[in-house]
Symmetry: none
Subunit: 294 residues, 2 copies
DNA sequence: TTCAAAATGGAATTGTTGTTCCAAGTTTTG
DNA sequence: CAAAACTTGGAACAACAATTCCATTTTGAA
């Protein structure tokens, strides 16, 4: 069969995975690069790879030889052949995906394959991001960044569906020099956690209809104590929105009636990145090369 | 703008088409080959092309020069850049950010607008999702769904950066009839939380380099007790990967040292949706009818 | 047909890349 | 603590690819 080439790649990759542990440091680097940058291997030269892995060119050759090739050229040939096989996709991924999804729909008249469902979901998330980018409110976003930049302590609140986003946000913000407190509600301590908020602080609240009671409480408390509120929500019309200094509205698309989270997540990540940028935290400062950073 | 690479190809191709008639025979051959075999140009050498066109290698060089390049290398670079843009966003993405930061230092006398940073970030996430969809491993995904479907109790583990995803996953899975336990590590109870795992159960582990200790511990424990592992990670090479029954590899691009999370998030959501679909849970059921559902 | 201009292919050149070799450094083992 | 095994990086080497040069052939116009 002509399908031998992609198999060869799989086989090689599996072989690499097997031996990975026993490999010396430099070869591990190369192995990692090979696995993560499969596509660019078709055109990379030994020195390119060596450079990006921070190893000596000969290490790359040794890597190839370690896996039974005469030299790098032979190893590369494996990837080139695989690339040549799937040579139909000079076209965009969108088309490929569309085709994939379409194919499955047509065939099975029973259930959809799990993969199809997933592809649909991913496609939906992507569309959502398109939407987010298109309806992006730069003014509000800039205001949000400024607000966070000025804040002394940032309280992050979000429950249930919003909790993952809140915990991500809190985690990210920890990497600035600001004090960050996530209102986790652990042990029923929501109230105690928010009590400390005051003037100069900011409540970063994430909430969607029907707005969580805990978050509403935090919001009320924040206002009372003179703190500002940055609200990430689904509508500028909500009761909470009126209390907030800055409102970032996110619309989540839903696939199979299931609301996605990617947009909210992406927005909050963008918020962090922009804040880091604003605070002039350089890449070097925030980068943790081999540090624990799970 | 950063979109110049694919454009460059288009422009070149148009230029070739224009002049085609006036070209001498051999250059016509080459032009034809270039137009028809665009994708393989990224790896073809002069002699490859010459051979396939039945012309002398020097003709290929002359062809490149005819179109304003110093030599074949420059022409090829155009195609390589286009390939890199469409295919491996991690590279072009980092570069974009680096460029962003660089621009600030160089040109603009102020800072970049926060909005610009955000737009860049969102664009990156979008590209990431395309990549996720394009490199989607249907087999592994289906296996993952099946594994979850059969599980009696699902243990979800993920720390630090992976924690938000883990907590989302746990939250979502609660909406099935399965018993779900998230290893939160609260109160240093990681060990006690995972002790209960056993045959018939599944550990849903989410971890990225350098793999969190807690998650590794859970994985070891799961194996010991005869449970299966579903691993969401960044590389099939990790030590954990070998222990796992199913490995879903996700590649996240990173900005400011903070790897994006959208892909992982989207994948886990997709996993849940597919599982719900498989279990024939209607989406209505997964919603909490009267309850607040933030 | 003849001449000039252009195209072509052989062969040498130049530059680069992949590879090997070896010495120095590191880790492991007895 | 010493010897052995292995890893690493520098430099030389070999192979090859891209490019140029030039003689030859072809084409086209007068």
């Amino acid at each position: 069969m002509s399908k031998k080439s992609p198999d060869a790649v799989d086989q090689l990759l599996r072989s690499i995975a097997d031996q990975y542990e026993r490999l010396p440091r430099q070869l591990k680097n190369v192995a990692g690069y090979v696995e993560q940058n499969r596509p660019s291997l078709v055109m990379d030269r030994v020195s390119d790879i060596a450079g990006r892995c921070g190893v000596h060119p000969s290490a790359v050759v040794r890597f190839a030889q370690h896996f039974g090739f005469a030299g790098f050229g032979e190893l590369q040939a494996v990837f080139r052949r695989a690339y040549a096989c799937g040579c139909s996709p000079p076209l965009s991924y969108k088309e490929r995906i569309r085709k994939l999804v379409h194919d499955r729909h047509a065939g099975h008249h029973g259930k959809l394959a799990a993969g199809t469902v997933a592809q649909n979901f991913i496609a939906g998330s992507r569309t959502g991001l398109d939407d987010l980018a298109a309806n992006f409110d730069e003014t509000a976003f800039a205001a949000a960044v400024k607000l966070l930049d000025k804040a002394e302590t940032i309280y992050v609140a979000g429950v249930r569906r919003s909790y993952p986003v809140a915990s991500y946000t809190a985690y990210a913000l920890q990497h600035t020099q600001k004090r960050v407190i996530q209102i986790s509600g652990l042990g029923g301590m929501t109230r105690h956690q928010i009590y400390g908020i005051g003037k100069g602080d900011v409540l970063f609240a994430i909430t969607f209809a029907p707005y969580g009671r805990e978050t509403q409480f935090c919001s009320k408390m924040a206002r009372q104590q003179g703190a500002e509120i940055l609200l990430v929500t689904d509508s500028r019309l909500s009761a909470l929105a009126k209390q907030a200094r800055v409102v970032l509205a996110v619309k989540e698309s839903s696939v199979f009636a299931f609301r996605s989270l990617t947009n909210t997540m992406a927005l909050c990540q963008a918020l962090f990145v922009a804040l880091a940028y604003q605070m002039e935290i350089t890449i070097e400062e925030t980068r943790e090369p081999r540090e624990a950073h799970d």
